[in-house]
Symmetry: D2
Subunit: 504 residues, 4 copies
């Protein structure tokens, strides 16, 4: 199992990387084998940090489990469990740097601070614990909320940030390198406090939600709203809803327009180049590339590679996306038509077994294979674990798979997500996510009785637009306002929403 890679802790862009899609597996196989493969992957990952930003806490770490330590912050508060409270100062600096890149949350603090829209909110959260999350948490607090937090990933916690949060009075239960047992222990500590009834859940992956749902059904019923970030978590909520067991309104922030466009089109347009360069130093000019799938992710990849001088082929199953690929200037092919000639194969389908052994057998020597889709199923990596093939790890995240005749395929991130494993997610994208989460909490918490039923909702269009508007100043972008006459002509409210809900 993979969790968290490439944490950046030192520089201007302190970035967080999420691995939502891997979690499902985790939850499905909490077996011994699962745990073993888990620990192996942790040790593997520890060699994975790209350049920069080795976490500042690694070197001097003692081996005592945080669960066995007694720590208190400078005010004598000990309601937290983290690696080392002494790292708080360093973590604070990280948070301050992140604040500079998350102007939307800072603006939210200012705008909404007077009225404290989250006064009385008791939020339990389970997300990656990074500097950006800290900015979110402190924003929620500034808006009136009380927060308790655990990590949604055993490997992604920035220990120094957790320390700064604990020093700042937050009840945080998380450290880098939790065991699976630690993971659930932290979640439970976060939830289960004598006399504390949370009324809001902020979740990323659905583990916290399910823990409360299963272990504390009475607590669950009193929850006022759930905000869920990940594809997996949303999927689990819909299942709960279908089964008639969701007794709380939930907000699916994963599918908000702004987040989707940034996570997929705009972010992948940059990370495909970044991920390929950092791992292989390949020159893009003149390379023949096949991109499987022409959804938003595929569109981003294709646009970037075309711009860099690659010759790009596209495969698609959907005729509408196929026609778009044609109109955008890409040859639409079946994979077998070009598999012998391409230099790079990129999957962005969300499907499984898109690149199977048969294709891998026919690729030419040196062909690079990687995955930008949403899970690790697109390339049939398992089919490469056969005796006649030799694997050679040539760099972190880069394997040569060698055929008996000497042909080498360059497999990146063992078929997991290239963009998450081998490049970084810009703070700007994380800012959009965090702002959306904050607004969703405010919306659910303040919604008049009855506006939201026991169902899964998309963020209202207007708030989606509000998230976007909060990020425009970053670009010194000036929005035009409708005149009364124009608004009337268009049949719109001057303040939006401006488009139908289905607008993408």
């Amino acid at each position: 199992m993979e969790n968290r890679i490439g944490l950046k802790g030192g520089g201007k862009s302190v970035n967080q990387i999420q691995f939502a899609d891997q979690k499902q597996e985790f939850n499905k196989r909490p077996t011994k084998i699962g745990r073993r493969s888990l620990s192996r992957s942790i040790s593997q990952s520890s060699t994975d940090s790209y350049g920069s930003a080795a976490s500042y806490t690694d070197s001097s770490d003692d081996e005592t489990s945080p669960r066995d330590k007694q720590q208190k912050n400078s005010k004598g508060n000990g309601d937290f469990c983290i690696k080392n409270i002494k790292q708080a100062d360093f973590g604070r600096r990280e948070i301050e740097i992140a604040e500079q890149e998350m102007p939307a949350l800072m603006a939210l603090r200012k705008r909404a601070q007077g009225e404290k829209p989250l006064a009385g909110a008791k939020v339990v959260g389970c997300t990656h614990i990074t500097a950006q999350t800290a900015v979110l948490m402190e924003t929620l607090t500034a808006l009136g909320a009380q927060c308790r937090w655990a990590a949604c990933n055993i490997y992604s916690t920035q220990n120094e940030v957790a320390a700064a949060l604990a020093e700042g009075g937050f009840s945080v239960f998380a450290w880098k390198g939790e065991s699976e047992d630690d993971f659930w222990w932290c979640i439970d500590r976060c939830v289960n406090l004598e006399g504390w009834q949370p009324n809001m859940i902020l979740d990323d992956g659905g583990d916290l939600t399910h823990w409360i749902y299963k272990k504390y059904p009475n607590m669950f019923k009193k929850i006022k709203g759930i905000v869920e970030e990940s594809v997996t978590g949303v999927h689990r909520l819909y299942q709960l809803s279908k089964a008639g067991k969701l007794c709380v309104p939930a907000m699916n922030v994963n599918d908000s327009v702004t987040k989707q466009k940034f996570d997929n089109l705009y972010c992948c347009r940059e990370s495909i180049l970044d991920g390929l360069k950092r791992t292989t130093d390949v020159m893009f000019g003149g390379k023949q590339v096949v991109v499987c799938g022409y959804g938003e992710v595929g569109k981003g990849c294709c646009a970037a590679l075309k711009a860099m001088g690659s010759i790009v082929y596209v495969t698609e199953i959907d005729p509408i996306c196929a026609l778009q690929a044609c109109m955008d200037g890409f040859r639409l092919v079946k994979l077998n038509e070009v598999i012998r000639q391409v230099d790079i194969v990129i999957t962005c389908t969300g499907n499984k077994n898109v690149v199977v052994r048969e294709y891998l057998d026919r690729m030419k020597n040196g062909c690079i294979v990687c995955n930008m889709g949403h899970s690790n199923t697109e390339i049939d990596v398992a089919s490469l674990r056969t005796p006649e093939l030799t694997w050679e790890r040539v760099r972190s995240q880069v394997d040569h798979v060698i055929w008996p005749d000497g042909k080498r395929i360059v497999l990146l991130a063992e078929g997991r997500l290239l963009n998450l494993s081998c490049s970084t997610v810009p703070t700007f994208v994380l800012s959009i996510t965090a702002t959306t989460q904050a607004l969703a909490l405010i919306e659910l918490y303040n919604a008049p009785e009855g506006r939201y039923k026991q169902d899964v909702y998309l963020l209202p269009k207007k708030m989606d637009e509000y998230v976007a508007s909060l990020h425009l100043p970053t670009f010194d972008a000036h929005l035009t306002e409708l005149s009364d006459e124009q608004a009337k002509y268009l049949g719109l409210n001057k303040n939006g929403p401006f488009k139908p809900n289905y607008y993408r």
Copy 2:
């Protein structure tokens, strides 16, 4: 009033141009003034044909009204009213050329011919009558339908095509240069035939629908389905539906994904360049351009101009589109920030009074102003009809508006749609439209009882995908098929639909 411009009758690409949005005005002011301005615009338009394709019928035209002529085709049939049956041969050639460029309809003929899915259908149609429409009509007939047809525009009929259709046995009532009285007379002749009860309507603009609705309410009730093409017509159907007066299921084919993408993004990406070049011969490189509105049309215009070396600014009211403009590399400004410096102003908002006199006053000498949005309201052209300004028509569709100090603004198409007035619509785009219409007719006609209520529907996603798939062979594009295992994994039917309805 404007109707139809730039008819191409002679060459490889025999194109049709639609002017749906102007029709509303027509219907609203059937007054004497309306009629006068109408005839004036006709004579104006007669100088408007770009290059090519002088209509073959112009020269030899006699002045007798078709309504006063008795004509029969070679089989003795006289149930039509057109300019001149003798032009049939020439029109047939036009149709044959169009057939080559509409492979989807030809494929439809082949695939569906065996089962005759329109057997028994009696279709009345009211659309532009062009070679492309003829291919559609003959396809419908091949599928089993009977058709009677009128023109949706007094100026757009290709007389020779109408002749070929009449010779082929179609009851066509249309000629180029109808009066308003002629217009309604033709529609009525089309509908009102002793013993003929139509059961399907194919409309473009809603005039035919309303004529039947008003004049023949009993006939209207027996209609099985309406297929409507235009924004205006769809709008009128929704109004009817809201008022509870729509007793027939109707299909809004205007908003199908495929059509929308082609009509807006892909088509405008090309026609903005074409329209500007044909009218002004402007060099794009280095020009500063402001594009008002960053929807699909704006995105197409911006992409094209950026690619040609223009420096493009964007204005927006919607923060989501605004953020997209930023991410695509355009400075987001208010119009007043750049109005003094830009060389070209393009409106794509769908709004009114976007470019008002105040801005026009501040533009620099030689600034080109044009409209790519959906109506003629975006530029406040009326504000330029003041005594101190001189208008000089320098070319067809090009006016210089001259300020007292000698400053000249170059106004294109008097603020009407540049892409329709000054460039052509590729047959490929028309092919998508016609195929969508044919499939919608088949769907409504064959739908099991109860599938469609008395409401306005979007084309089912699957049929939208089918339209796209029929156009892929044009690009020698090869679609990948899902394996059973993959379809199961994705929870999809192997044959689609592949995306949620809201997918764009």
Copy 3:
């Protein structure tokens, strides 16, 4: 033989189109057959004007030859021969519009007017006579020169502009539709005036130069300098020079950097799209195109088509250009590899017989074939003039060549230059040419004794840079100046030249 097509006389952008490469043929075959084919092509061409801008003189033309008329301007001067002096007012307006788009010449008038750098210069010119040329001529006069002028093309003269020039006191000998005899008569009248010894020649094609060289050898020896614009004329000068017969320094302005980049890369990037659209209305998106030749013209064509969503293949003979094509993202192929699948074939090689019958036979139905190279030799059009093939003229400049099996090839401009035949040249490009000519005249006229020998020279780099700098204000572009320290560091003069001579 073709000469001059698509004269625009009426609008904002009054454009000139040059056909240098055709002239050679003209001079080579002054036979009866030549003359007959000439007159045929004139009548053909008269149907060729695209849209707009029918020449204002056509309609009211009387049939009297200008040579048989006695005309005088309002000041009683009759030393000219043109179509009709009464059109002077209209021509003046054309010139005034052109002035607005040629700011560099206007700036030159201002900057150099005080010192009159051409005082004493007696310039005989032989170029296209258009509004832009008139701006050039009046600039030369403002700088102190006397000018006498003839047309370099029997078809390209804008009669109204010639009238305005005559009214303004210029001795102009030119009209639209000269016979070949007229052509040489005009040149002779221009040169041969009792008591007038020209000292500078401004030529486009070399006809004037050769006339003087042959007929008036003594006059030729007293010429101080020749400025030649065209490839053909430059070629003839080099031949003269090689033969040791060039007794005058000549300036090759055709190969100046600025002109080359604009004539080739930037201009063709736009005109390939324009030429294809105006003739065929083809949709670029998704089309497969092969571009033969990846020099500057090919680079421009490829960039434009790629940006519009075409899939572009390139053929090359030069491995360096081939490698550039690869790095820019184009598949480098041999023509026969793709000839069956492409939708459009474009030649930009400067070579002959690039597209031969064998390839034409294998193209698919509807394939468009056109030439953007420098002559009409690239497509072997002659090979299509065989009995089994049918030619059908479907539009001006558009022929369908039909194979016995019904396959149609769409041949544009009969294989002549698409950009000259079917699109327009922006005034901005003409402005660069005219400014370069003016500066070359000044340079040669004022050069100290001995700087220029009896040879052919390129425009000095510094003047090339000056032409560019005069055009920057059009784009509101602000040049940075070197500090003294920086100039020293770079070893450059602060005012340039900034690059080595070979810089392109």
Copy 4:
């Protein structure tokens, strides 16, 4: 003078990074201080390796100087001086991987092997010693040459590659981390062998050439040719030539077309993105960037950033390049017009003090400043070393310079070359360089008496084309051949050269 740092030794793409700007310092201050600062920078650099490819030899290194060791290869040969002969196997694997990416050299081995065009050549070389160089050296040997080699940079040697070369019988004198004294000692050992008179020099920086010129003037006179790679070395050769002291023909391979285009335009187009991402993780979309200088490097940077959605401004001193920037769609500004608003400043001028303190003072918080030009003079970094500013190293190669008011400027690579310091050079680019060097050696060695005088020459165009042609198969690119008829028409030899020498 040029050097090289940041060797990558571990992966598929074993890349080399050059550090041109550091050596100058080295040579200028061979003082104690100089040496100290040198060693400091070495230790700094040792933390600089990005991701991947920590040199495999670092960890286990003993501290004994190679000069003090006695080593022999497995055949008993000891005529070399390297770090550790035991690393030979590992180095061999590196070389084998590099061979796969340098097909041109491999092809050269095959094609020229029969005739041994370098038989008798005794080559002394002084270049970076990397896997790619090893492929070059073994190619030269395969062609008949004897080679002795030293490193041109004290830090860039891949010890394991040097070991493999020594094991293979090469006399190599180089290790990573030489002192300055070691550096010259190695060069001398390379040259000064009893009974060995070299006849060819392959140099990178000119140090070897000057050592021989100064210390062994008699040896120098017997040299048959010099091939020089670097700007600095070429400059020194021209100086020698001007001074009349160059008694040997020299080939300037730095200015060959192919190398220039790849080193500048194509390579920088990719490395600007790579360098910025690896250091700052910045998102390009929507960022405002100013690029100073629009030569080949600037063109590459601008094209890449524009494609990624940045808004790019350009500054220029040369009006021709300025006009090109305009036509390519960039606003041409002076730096002070945009310095307050931009997010990123990139210098590509080759000039000094382009970004001075005054501009740095006015940049906004978070502005990234970096240099892509040819030296470290473009940004006046010295001006930032003042007491009121705080420097904070936040990552390798990334400094925050902090103003008293808290404003932070992000300075990359301390103003040295971003592309060399913070990204990698693709093997493909190195392959072009190495092939050019090999061909230049062959050309000079085999040239008939008198073809080359005692001067500095550019590589003949035809060989430049040959280098390009050898790299086409990498892209499966198929060159078209001229027919005899076409070659005659164009006046070209069928095998080239195809363009004039000045063609770029």
